[in-house]
Chain length 209, copies 2
DNA sequence: GAGCCAGTTGATCACTTGATCAATAAGCCC
DNA sequence: GGGCTTATTGATCAAGTGATCAACTGGCTC
């Protein structure tokens, strides 16, 4: 009797936990936060639902964590990218181009899901608040830095940050739901930012030399 | 033996159908589109789930219809209110005040749900598109009327309508998710509209004489 | 190579959902 | 008041959800 290859592929605890978290992120991006399910995750990594449940005692918590991970990763990536730019004006320009760029639909749909599902998932609602505040704080820091350098002036950087984020979120939501691309609406954000910061029109549009 | 009062309260077909539709709207406003359930509706009107299923063969369709009803009713109401105003500038001012007014959270959450759930409910996605287009068409008509009357000028009313709606939706989404009130952000929409329409600053803020 | 720890399974429970259908009974018409 | 239309029920199904737990076993340690 030939020994059948063992069907069980054993992994270390942390390794399996990371695999589950990564799979949850993939599902969220592809099929939405609601598609994060014990069985969906288990099926993807070829494992029993009980195992997923073993590593993630609460599915609600996993959903919240997954959202926070996706939103936080993007913020971290953008933070890193912008930190390489010399001026705050260029950073702001790059931020707008990125946040309203192509291939944004996955992240945007996750945010839309979070806004909707958050009402039934307290942990997720809390994470949504944390992430929104983090984005606002990031933009406030960027604006304040530009002010300190004398690149532009702004009366209330906190309020302006919320305004710009609201516009960007609205544009992206419309783009995802109704069309596919938000790039055509970049000028709206640019114009508002230039106006509020006292920058000459076109400053945020032109590509850097 | 006293005859127990009959537990069945019979209603005419259309009457029951209307009651179901109304109940679905109430549930959607209070608990979200996802809370629209055969059993939830049945329980509210004191009836068996099978009866609801009898009048609404598909729950997906009911969800789409309910969303369309809520969104359409608001558009109809606003259309009526604004039609009483003499000038397009006043209409625009009133529109902004209404769409960013208090007590908007119920409608906004329904929209957020629709954006999210629409990805799993084709009929709902279609209805979302119809409603978004209807709102845009309404705003385009308002802008074009103002142009024809010489109240203001706009290069591309279609694009401006989408921009203003995107800003309003973004502000409302933020307000619902993070805070409770969107009124503090009205000036953002006013400023953009005034700028794009060539109106003097403050035109859309002041209350009419 | 024996033994043990930890990762993994399979079975199972409780619950919610949409949906179907024969059977019942309410209320109207003649 | 008999009969007929139709609103309504109760029972039931299948699918899908999260969650639990005793039992199993892979692979490392000694």
């Amino acid at each position: 009797m030939s020994t059948l290859p063992s069907r069980v592929k054993r992994k270390s605890g942390p390794e399996r936990a990371a695999e589950i978290a990564r799979t949850a992120r993939e599902i969220a991006r592809y099929d939405g936060l609601d598609a994060i399910t014990l069985r969906a995750i288990a099926a993807r990594i070829g494992v029993t639902p009980a195992l997923v449940s073993h590593y993630e005692p609460s599915t609600e918590g996993l959903v919240a964590t997954t959202f926070g991970s996706i939103a936080g990763a993007e913020l971290a990536e953008i933070t890193k990218e912008l930190s390489a730019l010399p001026s705050s004006v260029e950073a702001l320009r790059a931020l707008i181009d990125t946040l309203l760029g192509p291939d944004r639909s996955a992240v945007t749909t996750v945010w839309l899901d979070a806004w909707s599902v958050g009402r039934r998932n307290i942990a997720l609602a809390r994470e949504v608040g944390v992430q929104m505040d983090a984005w606002q704080a990031f933009l406030v820091a960027l604006l304040n830095r530009g002010c300190a350098r004398g690149e532009f002036a702004v009366a209330d950087s906190g309020a302006l940050a919320w305004q710009l984020l609201a516009i960007i979120d609205g544009i992206n939501a419309h783009a995802v739901v109704r069309y596919g691309d938000a790039r055509g609406q970049r000028d709206l954000v640019r114009t508002v930012a230039e106006h509020e910061l006292g920058l000459p029109p076109g400053t945020l549009s032109a590509a850097p030399a």
